[in-house]
């Protein structure tokens, strides 16, 4: 069954999600891939900045802040906590 896709910035703080698709193109896309945002990577939404944007995410053990402009180009599906199988301490 296909799960609903969200853009990364839509998810509430504390949620875990799995990267499904990058809409971004060009250098931004490369940068995202270099950060490890490839298919099926688990991302945790960590904290919002005081103004609500940017938001910091935990990606492969590193904390990276993304503006809504970038995060909205990352399509993800929600995962249950248990499913966050990667052993990087976020499960």
């Amino acid at each position: 069954m296909e799960k609903t896709l969200f853009t990364l910035n839509q998810l509430p703080i504390g949620s875990h999600s799995k990267v499904k698709q990058l809409i971004a193109d060009g250098p931004i896309r490369r940068r995202m891939l270099d950060l490890g945002l490839i298919q099926d990577t688990i991302v945790k939404s960590l904290i919002k900045s005081p103004a609500g944007d940017p938001i910091a995410y935990e990606i492969r053990g590193t904390v990276i802040a993304l503006r809504s402009e970038e995060a909205s180009q990352i399509l993800v599906e929600l995962v249950e906590k248990q499913e966050g199988r990667r052993g990087n301490g976020i499960n």
């Binding site: 250098p27 270099d34 005081p50 990276i64």
Partner: protein, 715 residues
């Protein structure tokens, strides 16, 4: 607007890596790594140099080489810009890649952060695709231990096929092993067998086909497998680099290009998952890194970063984030102002005591009176002022500020403020460059290199001057202490702090406003992409902070001020003493400037002081005092109270003080900063604009405040 790299200074970065090899026996080592891995600490620990470590972001590019010897051999260490990748998505990545490819390093050391090894492996694997001579340095082992992260270095070494050394560069742990591994790889004693990322079978076969052609063209000067791969994915910048560095023209090679075209077509038609080959390559590398990391890293404490998240939750919270930030800044200034008072007075007393002795000595050896006056009243007195006014606040401010930096707080500031910078069409990292500007605007301008987009970098460069640098703090602090806080006794330093804090907040607001204005006019464009790493908080090293900030920053800034102050003192003394029709040149100039200065709430001498202070703002107040004193009878000036009296005698009101503070905050950058801007932008036009923007802002702001106050009869 056509902002090319050439027009924004990136060209200067590119010629940083011309290495001077003194003898053919010297071994060249390239040091690569992600940002925030302590790469510069490794560099410094190896070379024993203090290269302004972590002091100004982006500093790596400006001071990138050092030497060390190990077992009678000389090693040249080249510190490459910190990057996440070397697939060349930015100029820094291109520099790093080109050096590894064409700089002929004997060994490339990749420095990684033990607490986020997985992400770091991406770069390691990329480097291993280019060269076999790689040593992996897993740094920050102490942090990993603290967080209960265990890394099986032996297993990692086996999986990667290259030597792996765990280090804690800050305490020097593991560095001997690192040096030894480097030596062995360089001499060939260790034969590495780097694991290559495995790609799809069809792709591997295609790579082999292309490789043969490439071997014919470039021999073994470059890794042909890697070149083949990136010829296939159409990495145009790389092809350009190869052409430039090797004197080839790959696009002229008909057979090769035909083959490439055929393979690309086949991939497109038959292999859906590789339809974007660049994506496929990066994805394969990341996955390989993930697999390796799973095998060697174990987290004993799954909640190792709970505390960090809690701290982040407070420091960046909606309610407290920004107030805490302002409060921290306030505390830093309060400690600086409060703490600097006593040593400043002692220094002043001491230095003026020396002045008296110097005077006696010169009289004793019967030096002509004009020599005495030039040396003592001109040069020495200005120097004494600069030292006593500047040294104590700097010696307190810089260590405190470095402490915040070392803790890892500054990226949180950028995180908190990014939204506002985005609204102003600028980059969140501009907040970091502004923080550097507190120390020195020239350093702030250099640090703008951390911003990738040329447009946003220029905005950050032009507006950096709205942050008062250390040379201007004394103006703000002394005027705030004597004019604004004078009547409040016990709360004096508190009120002074608040006034300085207000000026800084005003500076930030002006920065945002002008950034917005620039991005709507001459630097039009959309905000670029923004990715900011919030590195883990780290235990600060108090000893290193104190030593580092005093030597690197305090003495650097002070030394510069002194170098400028001595000749300036001479010039001013001369101006005050060369008479034209019974009026000194200084008074003559001041009178000429006076009508305009009055409109801005200043007077001719103040404006004169700012103009003469172009070489360094530190000397503005000393110049002012000297000018006032030269018109009145001589008086000993060793306290703020006397300074106030002197200013009041010369017609100062609170409005004069406020306008002077405002003008100190908003006027042309100092000479050093202007030269730095010229160097960074490679453009006279942008230097001129950087001169005009704050100057015009200052004139407008002072005009409004002065005229407004007069209109409402406040003075």
């Amino acid at each position: 607007m056509g902002l090319t790299n050439e027009s924004t200074g990136m060209a200067t970065l590119k010629d940083m890596f011309n290495i001077e090899i003194q003898s053919p026996n010297e071994v060249v080592i390239a040091l690569a790594g992600n940002p925030n891995t302590g790469k510069s600490t490794v560099f410094n620990s190896l070379t024993g140099l203090n290269q302004h470590t972590g002091n100004w972001p982006g500093k790596t590019v400006s001071n990138a080489q050092g030497r060390y010897s190990y077992k009678d051999k000389q090693y040249i260490l080249v510190d490459l810009p910190g990057t996440y990748s070397i697939l060349a998505n930015s100029v820094e990545e291109e520099i790093a890649r080109d050096f590894i490819c064409f700089g002929n390093p004997h060994v490339t050391v990749v420095v990684t952060d033990a607490t986020s090894l997985e992400r770091n492996l991406n770069l390691v694997l990329q480097v291993m695709e280019i060269t076999d001579k790689v040593v992996l340095c897993v740094n920050l082992m102490d942090e990993a231990k603290r967080k209960n992260i265990h890394i099986n270095l032996k297993e990692l070494e086996k999986l990667l096929g290259i030597p792996v050394v765990g280090t804690t560069a800050r305490s020097g742990e593991g560095l001997e092993e690192l040096k030894s591994a480097i030596a062995k790889v360089a001499s060939g004693k260790i034969q590495t067998n780097p694991k290559k990322v495995n790609y799809d079978k069809f792709l591997e076969k295609s790579i082999k086909e292309i490789e043969t052609h490439i071997n014919d063209l470039i021999g073994n000067r470059l890794n042909s497998r890697w070149v083949a791969l990136h010829l296939l994915d159409g990495n145009d910048e790389l092809i350009k680099s190869i052409n430039d560095h090797m004197g080839l023209n790959l696009s002229q090679h008909k057979l090769l290009n035909k083959k490439l075209e055929n393979i690309r077509q086949d991939i497109k038609n038959e292999f859906d998952e590789m339809k974007d080959l660049k994506d496929y390559i990066v994805t394969s590398i990341v996955k390989t890194g993930e697999d390796i990391s799973k095998k060697v890293v174990s987290f004993k404490d799954k909640n190792y970063n709970q505390l960090e998240r809690k701290i982040d939750g407070i420091l960046t919270s909606k309610t407290f984030g920004i107030p805490i930030m302002i409060a921290l800044l306030g505390i830093v200034f309060w400690i600086t102002i409060k703490g600097a008072n006593v040593p400043s007075n002692i220094l002043a007393k001491g230095l003026f005591w020396i002045e008296a002795r110097l005077s006696t000595f010169l009289k004793l050896i019967k030096a002509p009176i004009w020599v005495h006056d030039i040396l003592v009243l001109g040069v020495y007195r200005t120097l004494a002022w600069v030292v006593s006014v500047m040294l104590p606040p700097m010696a307190i401010f810089f260590p405190l500020f470095t402490l915040l930096e070392d803790l890892g707080y500054l990226p949180r500031v950028a995180f908190n403020l990014d939204y506002y910078f985005k609204k102003a069409g600028a980059h969140g990292k501009q907040a970091l460059t502004m923080c550097m500007g507190f120390g020195c605007n020239a350093a702030g301008v250099i640090s703008c290199r951390i911003i990738d987009s040329p447009r946003e970098r220029l905005i950050a460069i032009i507006t950096n001057n709205f942050v008062p640098c250390n040379g201007r703090f004394p103006i703000l602090i002394s005027l705030a202490s004597i004019f604004i806080a004078s009547s409040t006794g016990a709360f004096r330093s508190l009120v002074a702090t608040l006034s300085v804090l207000t000026s800084i907040l005003l500076g930030v607001i002006i920065t945002l406003f002008i950034s917005k204005l620039l991005s709507k006019t001459i630097l039009r464009g959309l905000p670029s992409s923004f990715t900011l790493e919030l590195p883990p908080y780290r235990k600060p090293q108090i000893g290193r902070i104190i030593v580092g900030s005093i030597f690197d920053r305090t003495l650097f800034v002070l030394g510069r001020a002194i170098m400028v102050a001595a000749p300036a003192g001479l010039v001013i003394w001369a101006m005050a003493n060369i008479m034209i029709d019974d009026v000194s040149m200084l008074t003559y100039c001041a009178q000429f400037l006076n009508p305009f200065a009055q409109v801005l709430g200043l007077d001719g001498y103040i404006l004169m002081a700012f103009i003469l202070g172009l070489p360094a703002n530190e000397i503005v107040i000393p110049i002012l005092i000297m000018s006032y004193m030269s018109t009145a009878s001589m008086l000993e000036l060793d306290s703020l109270a006397e300074m106030k009296q002197l200013f009041i005698n010369n017609g100062w009101t609170w409005l004069t003080a406020v306008c002077t503070m405002l003008f100190a905050l908003n006027h042309w950058p100092c000479g050093t900063t202007l030269l730095t801007i010229r160097k960074e932008t490679q453009s006279l036009k942008w230097t001129l604009i950087s001169f005009l923007v704050p100057t015009i802002t200052g004139i407008v702001v002072c005009f409004i405040v002065a005229q407004g106050a007069r209109l409402f009869g406040l003075v």
